[in-house]
Amino acid sequence: MNRFRDTGHLLRFAALFFIAFAVFLVIRHFVVPKTFGEYGHYRGAAIAEIAARPVHFAGHQTCETCHADVLAIKAPGKHANVNCEACHGPLAKHADDPSITPPKLDTAVLCIRCHAASAAKPKGFPQVDAEQHAGGIPCETCHQPHNPAIAGGTK
C-alpha cells in the first residue's frame, strides 16, 4: 500500500515555496548593492566614494614645494606654525594650476580675526585694540605678516 499516495498537495506546496524563495533570491541579488556587507552592515563602496571627494585646501606640504622662500621668512617668527591656508584660504586650485592666482588679502580684516583684544581669550595670546593700537592704519604698514615682530622687518 502506497503510504505517500495523498502527498501531492504537500509537493505542490513545497514547489510553491521554492519558487517564492528563488524569486526572493533574484530580487535580493538586484536590490542589495554588490559591496553591502564587505566590512559590515553597510555598502563598502561608500567608503571609497567619500574618500574621492575633492580637496580644497592643498595643505602646507604642497605650498612648501614651491614657496620655500616664504617658509624661510616664517621659520624664525611667531607665525612659523601657522599654516599658509589659515590666512590665504583654500588654494588647491592654485596648487593644481599656478596660473590661477589667489585673491589679495586684506590685513585689516585678517589680523583682527585672531588678534582683536577680548578678555575671553587666553591671557598669553597677543591681542590689540586695533583702533587704539594703530588708529586704522593697515597692520602690514609696520608688521610683515609672515614674521610679525617689528624686528622682522616691514613689507
Binding site: I47, A52, V55, G59, T62, C114, A120, K121, F125
Partner: protein, 233 residues
C-alpha cells in the same frame, strides 16, 4: 591629486619612496585632540570646514562655543556660539568669571549611538574608526540626528539626507590632515592616529588631564579635550 603627490614626492626625495602614504584602513584608528587653553575662538576651523566640505549655510560640522562660568553659579555657564563661531565672538571688556572656548565636532565614537539606530545601514564606523554617512543609501529619517548625544548631525537642506563631519576622510587617506586642523592657527586641534605607535598623542594622553564629552554615555568618543572644564556639557 596634487597634494597627495606632493606628500609622496617628499618621501621620494628622501630616498624612501616605500614610506610614502599607501593608505590601508586597518593600519589606522583616527581620533582628534582639542587643546582648550590654546583655542582663541577665531572661527578659522568653522570657515575651513565649510569651505572644504560645502557645508550648507546655517549648519555646522564643527562649531565653537564660548563658555562663561561665574564664581557664584559654576553649574550654569553662559554658552554662546553666534553663527557657530564662524566670524569669531563679540569682544569682552570686563574680566569677571572665567571664559574659554570649546570647539565641537563629531566625536567619531567607537560605539556610536547614531550608527546603531540607522534602519538601513546608511551610517557606519569604518575599519579606521571614522563615522560616515552613505548619502546614496540614507532615507533622511533623522533617527541618527536624534540619537547623537553631541548634536553633531543635521539633515542636509537640499539633499534631504543626514550629513556630518567625515573627519575629512577624503584628506586623511591621502596623508593630509583635516581642514580644521590645517587651518587652526594656534595648534589647538591635532589629528591623531591611535594605531600609530609614533603618534605624539600617546605621550600626551599619559601626561595631561584629558577628557571626552559625556563619558557617562559610554559612546567611546574619540575627540579628546585637554583641560576641559567640568561645566562643559
Amino acid at each position: 591629486m596634487l597634494p597627495a603627490a606632493a606628500i609622496a614626492w617628499k618621501y621620494v626625495l628622501a630616498g624612501t619612496p616605500e614610506e610614502s602614504p599607501n593608505y590601508k584602513m586597518s593600519d589606522h584608528w583616527w581620533s582628534m585632540l582639542i587643546d582648550i587653553p590654546k583655542c582663541i575662538g577665531c572661527g578659522n576651523c568653522v570657515r575651513a570646514c565649510a569651505a572644504e566640505n560645502d557645508v550648507p549655510e546655517g549648519h555646522f560640522r564643527t562649531w565653537v562655543e564660548r563658555y562663561h562660568v561665574t564664581d557664584y553659579d559654576m553649574t550654569n555657564p553662559e554658552v554662546i556660539s553666534p553663527d557657530g563661531g564662524k566670524e569669531g565672538f563679540p569682544a569682552v571688556q570686563e574680566d569677571a568669571g572665567k571664559y574659554f572656548f570649546v570647539p565641537k565636532m563629531c566625536n567619531h565614537c567607537a560605539d556610536s549611538p547614531c550608527t546603531q539606530v540607522c534602519p538601513v545601514g546608511a551610517t557606519f564606523v569604518t575599519p579606521d574608526g571614522v563615522v560616515l554617512v552613505d548619502q546614496t543609501y540614507c532615507l533622511g529619517c533623522a533617527y541618527c540626528v536624534q540619537a547623537c548625544p553631541y548634536g553633531c548631525r543635521y539633515i542636509h537642506p537640499e539633499k534631504r539626507v543626514a550629513d556630518k563631519c567625515t573627519l575629512c576622510y577624503h584628506r586623511i587617506n591621502k596623508g593630509l590632515t583635516t581642514a580644521c586642523v590645517e587651518n587652526c592657527p594656534t595648534g589647538a586641534r591635532q589629528l591623531c592616529d591611535l594605531k600609530n605607535p609614533n603618534d605624539p598623542i600617546h605621550a600626551f594622553l599619559k601626561t595631561h588631564h584629558v577628557q571626552v564629552l559625556k563619558p557617562q554615555m559610554a559612546t567611546g568618543a574619540k575627540v579628546f579635550y585637554n583641560e576641559l572644564d567640568g561645566s562643559v556639557r
